[in-house]
């Protein structure tokens, strides 16, 4: 039987506000354990939370950028459960009146745009971190109370690749908003996935598995692929599926059962009486809306329009905020009206260099003026495209300017016809047969002769001019 995969993702983002969600402790990673704590985030008796307006602001930004409706009335609720990393044994979260609902994120699937629904975006607090040692378990509460944004998608994703694209798109938007580091390996972005299979065409959802413990986007994709296959095998063999939580073990490249549904967990949510219901005014929302930066989709449309880029090329450039900013600087400084050339350089040689060096475009350290200068040499036919690429490599390695490198290595293309004629004459003399072939209409011979000229000129001859000169000489002979 053919199955359809149904996936929903639950993403948690640590917001990079200056202070924690409900107290004034600084958010400051990599510090001595329990050095960024106070009675409030330690849940000491008598302490009380006061919500952080900056965190609320960030959360509203994210909600708006994801097209969600920000609710005017919202409140915080207590989610009650016992765990030693949770200082109060309840987490301040949001239950029935989340900050916002009904958002979306567009991804590309099978070459077409696909809209993934976002059920809710809400604010909550992070827990501490357990450190297990041989004879004891220790708790570091530095992380406790850091604002977390929970973003829950609809079960609209139908493959591991779509899930991967959704995460990439989400990360990109959040990066544009500059409200979280979105680093899955460092835990500032966490993702749990719900996955189930159903017969193709069926409307009913199958029995789902909740996947945890993925610590990269690729891990999410691999875990989902593994799980889809595992579930399909189970269904094929007619074995009953059980709702369960499974952990992804990256080393073994498989998921293992953590717990089966032990009766739905009862978190006994109720409104936190320490934090009053609050109203987010329309004015506040429209103020935040107006202050939103240009988002990836908007930048993409603008790049396509302003720089006459294809959707594909523009898409590559806007897929990272800093890269897009770097690219735009280069495009702006490029003096030609047609920006295509610069765009090609950015998504061509520059991107390959970046990939080879495991860097992002903007991290290459190329000065946009230098890049413009390098492209200028090619434009003026003073440098072959091939040489230009090697100049770029040397620029990146040495930090020297294009002009310096070209001069030092004597790379300027020979466009001086007198000198070229001299070389061509020598080549024809040495390759009489090919010259005759060309004369007799064997056009293949032309490329051979051009190649020989290039060789003799150590690659500096301008191949276009060489071609013209050879043709003229043979035709006139």
């Amino acid at each position: 039987m053919k199955y359809q995969t149904v996936i929903g993702l639950e993403v948690h983002l640590q917001l990079k506000t200056k202070t924690k969600a409900f107290c004034s402790c600084a958010i400051d990673f990599g510090r001595e354990p329990n050095s960024r704590v106070c009675p409030v985030c330690l849940g000491f008796p008598g302490s009380l939370p006061v919500y952080n307006k900056e965190a609320l602001n960030y959360a509203i930004k994210a909600a708006l950028a994801l097209g969600a409706q920000v609710q005017e009335h919202t409140k915080f609720d207590r989610k009650n459960y016992f765990y030693p990393d949770l200082p109060k044994n309840y987490q301040i979260s949001q239950y029935d009146l989340p900050l916002s609902r009904n958002g979306f994120l567009d991804i590309t699937a099978d070459g077409k745009s696909k809209r993934i629904g976002i059920t809710r975006v809400h604010l909550e607090e992070d827990a501490g971190k357990l450190i297990h040692e041989a004879d004891a378990s220790l708790v570091d509460f530095n992380r406790a109370g850091i604002p977390l944004l929970e973003i829950v998608s609809e079960p609209d994703l139908n493959s591991a690749q779509e899930a991967f694209d959704y995460l990439t798109g989400l990360k990109n938007i959040i990066e544009y908003l500059d409200i979280s580091d979105c680093d899955m390996e460092k835990g500032s972005l966490r993702c749990d996935a719900n996955i189930s299979l159903r017969p193709q065409g069926s409307k009913e959802l199958g029995v789902k598995t909740e996947l945890k413990n993925m610590n990269s986007f690729k891990g999410v994709k691999d875990a989902l692929n593994f799980e889809a296959e595992r579930q399909a095998e189970l269904l094929e063999s007619g074995q009953p599926m059980e709702q369960e939580t499974r952990l992804w073990e990256a080393q073994k490249n498989m998921t293992v059962s953590m717990r089966t549904k032990e009766g739905a967990k009862d978190y006994r949510y109720f409104p936190d009486p320490d934090l009053t219901v609050f109203i987010i005014g329309r004015e506040m929302i429209s103020g935040i809306k107006d202050s939103l930066p240009e988002l990836p989709v908007q930048k993409l449309r603008r790049f396509m329009k302003e720089y006459s880029l294809s959707e594909y090329d523009a898409g590559i450039l806007v897929s990272s905020k800093k890269d897009a900013e770097f690219a735009e600087e280069c495009l702006k400084k490029y003096p030609e009206k047609d920006k295509k050339n610069m765009a090609n350089w950015l998504i061509g040689p520059l991107l390959s260099e970046a990939n080879a060096r495991n860097l992002n475009l903007h991290q290459l350290g190329v000065n946009p003026d230098e890049l413009t200068s390098l492209i200028g040499f090619v434009q003026r036919q003073e440098l072959s495209h091939l040489s230009a690429k090697s100049v770029l490599t040397r620029m990146l390695d040495s930090g020297k300017s294009a002009r310096e490198i070209i001069k030092e290595n004597n790379l300027l293309q020979i466009s001086d016809t007198a000198e070229l004629e001299r070389i061509i004459a020598a080549v024809i003399r040495e390759n009489e047969k090919s010259a005759n072939d060309l004369k007799n209409g064997k056009t293949n011979a032309l490329m051979f002769l051009v190649g020989q000229v290039m060789k003799k000129s150590s690659g500096k001859a301008n191949p276009k001019i060489v071609q013209e000169l050879i043709k003229r000489r043979i035709d006139n002979a």
Partner: protein
């Protein structure tokens, strides 16, 4: 020289101002009194701290309260002084910070008395019998309870072991013991006093308030501790009037509502007579009393015990042995939780945690918690309507005078009903005061409760002070 510990705060402040005495003299008088009588009253806990901390006193602060000592209930955090809510589970907990009210008191020049006042564990009770340290005795009859949960605070003031004190009131925990011990006790409007540093019982009901020997002291202490606190989201940014201007001794023309629902079966006949006489007194002073109806009164106790226990079950979850207080020896995490909480909490605490957990559970939430919230709104609306026609409402503080120690411990429901007249005030968030208004034949004090609309504590002081200055009840002292 009169025994300084028997004077009111305002009398002592006069003498301090005139440099007739020093705050050290008052401190010594209190120490002496405690040594003499506290073995009978047991108003204080951890008595060994008295001598330990006595030397750490600061000298004669220049500010308005001039080093006057104040007694603090064991659930209000005091930096450097253990704060254990009279529970084993908080054994040894010494807060690294002061509650906002403590800060305010210190800034005003008060001396935080190093002994903390006894209370029902986590303020769960109406008799101070639920203290891990054992019960406090009523100074008027040592076989009787002092009321609760601020029984230690009330008894210490009544027995002149304190000049004045802070308590907390979630369902009557200041007013009922004030009534049982013959002192003045105020439950301020919800949001009037910062709860920061008050170890929470039921966050939407708790308020810190003063217990004092007369209304002037009560207003003086209110003046110091009232006010907005940015560290408490539920505190309200509302101006605090100058309460000395409320002590006018003039209540002519004030309209006083007498709710029929508060004068029903189960009320002690003697209490009823004493309250009626008090109302007559108010009328004779120029007030005009008339009947008023608070139709949802009968639901107050069940609504309260759902909301208060629900919040308490969550508030008390943090006492798990991980960070502070009592931790039972155990081999693993779950065992640590179970043993620590099993050994650390007393019976009443366990009862309320179980009740509250149940009320919040899936499938019961709507029927209990949500419904209780709705009825709470109706109770509040009763008061809103009543205060359209009346300046204040007068009732007994408690249906009975102080009962015998052990009399109600086996019957929690009976115990819960002793708060029947005080609970609605907390549910509605309004202020109310209890003042002495007479004695039973056996010599037990009876308290008169006056309620006012939100943030109108000035009205309470005005009526209470006028009544007090025209009676002598507050001048009687128990024989110890």
């Amino acid at each position: 020289m009169t025994e300084l510990n028997k004077l009111t705060a305002h009398e002592l402040l006069e003498r301090l101002k005139d440099k007739e005495i020093t705050s050290g003299d008052i401190y010594s008088a209190l120490q002496k009194r405690i040594k003499e009588v506290d073995s009978k009253v047991k108003a204080y806990v951890r008595l060994d701290t008295l001598n330990k901390l006595a030397n750490q006193r600061t000298n004669e602060p220049e500010n308005e309260l001039k080093g006057l000592p104040i007694t603090i209930k064991d659930n209000i955090c005091t930096q450097g002084i253990n704060t254990e809510c009279c529970s084993k589970i908080l054994q040894g907990f010494c807060p690294p910070y002061d509650a906002t009210v403590i800060n305010k008191l210190k800034n005003a020049g008060a001396e935080i008395f190093p002994l903390k006042a006894n209370m029902d564990e986590f303020a769960f009770g109406s008799s101070t019998e639920n203290s891990h340290f054992g019960p406090t005795h009523n100074p008027w009859d040592k076989a009787c309870v002092p009321g609760g949960s601020s029984g230690g605070s009330a008894a210490s003031v009544a027995a002149d072991e304190a000049i004045w004190a802070l308590g907390s009131d979630t369902g009557g925990s200041i007013r009922q013991p004030a009534s049982f011990c013959g002192v003045v006790g105020l439950k301020p409007t919800y949001g009037r006093v910062s709860r920061y540093g008050l170890i929470a019982f039921a966050s939407s009901l708790d308020q810190i308030g003063p217990l004092a020997k007369d209304v002037r002291d009560c207003s003086l202490l209110s003046q110091v501790i009232f006010g907005y606190d940015p560290n408490d989201s539920t505190s309200v940014n509302q101006d605090v009037p100058d309460f000395s201007k409320s002590l006018t001794k003039d209540i002519r023309g004030l309209k006083i509502g007498i709710p029929g629902e508060y004068f029903v079966d189960g009320m002690d006949a003697e209490v009823k007579t004493i309250i009626e006489e008090a109302i007559n007194k108010l009328n004779s002073l120029g007030a005009v009393s008339a009947k008023v109806s608070l139709p949802h009164t009968e639901y107050a106790v069940p609504v309260y015990y759902i909301i208060a226990t629900a919040e308490a079950s969550s508030n008390l979850a943090r006492f798990d042995g991980v960070q502070y207080g009592w931790r039972a020896k155990s081999d693993n995490l779950i065992e640590m939780y179970k043993k620590t909480r099993g050994e650390g909490f007393g019976d009443e605490a366990k009862r309320r945690i179980i009740l509250g957990t149940f009320a919040l559970s899936h499938g019961y939430y709507d029927a209990y918690y949500l419904r209780a919230l709705k009825v709470r709104t109706l109770i509040k609306q009763d008061f809103d309507a009543a205060f359209k026609d009346f300046d204040c409402i007068v009732t007994p503080t408690s249906p009975t005078p102080a009962f015998k120690i052990g009399e109600k411990t086996q019957d929690p429901l009976k115990m819960y009903l002793s708060d029947i007249y005080t609970i609605s005030v907390n549910l509605a968030g309004i202020p109310a005061i209890s003042i002495p208004c007479g004695f039973t034949k056996k010599g037990l004090p009876v308290g008169l409760q006056i309620m006012a609309k939100p943030f109108d504590e000035a009205m309470l002081f005005r009526v209470a002070h006028t009544f007090e200055q025209n009676t002598d009840w507050h001048k009687s002292k128990p024989k110890l």
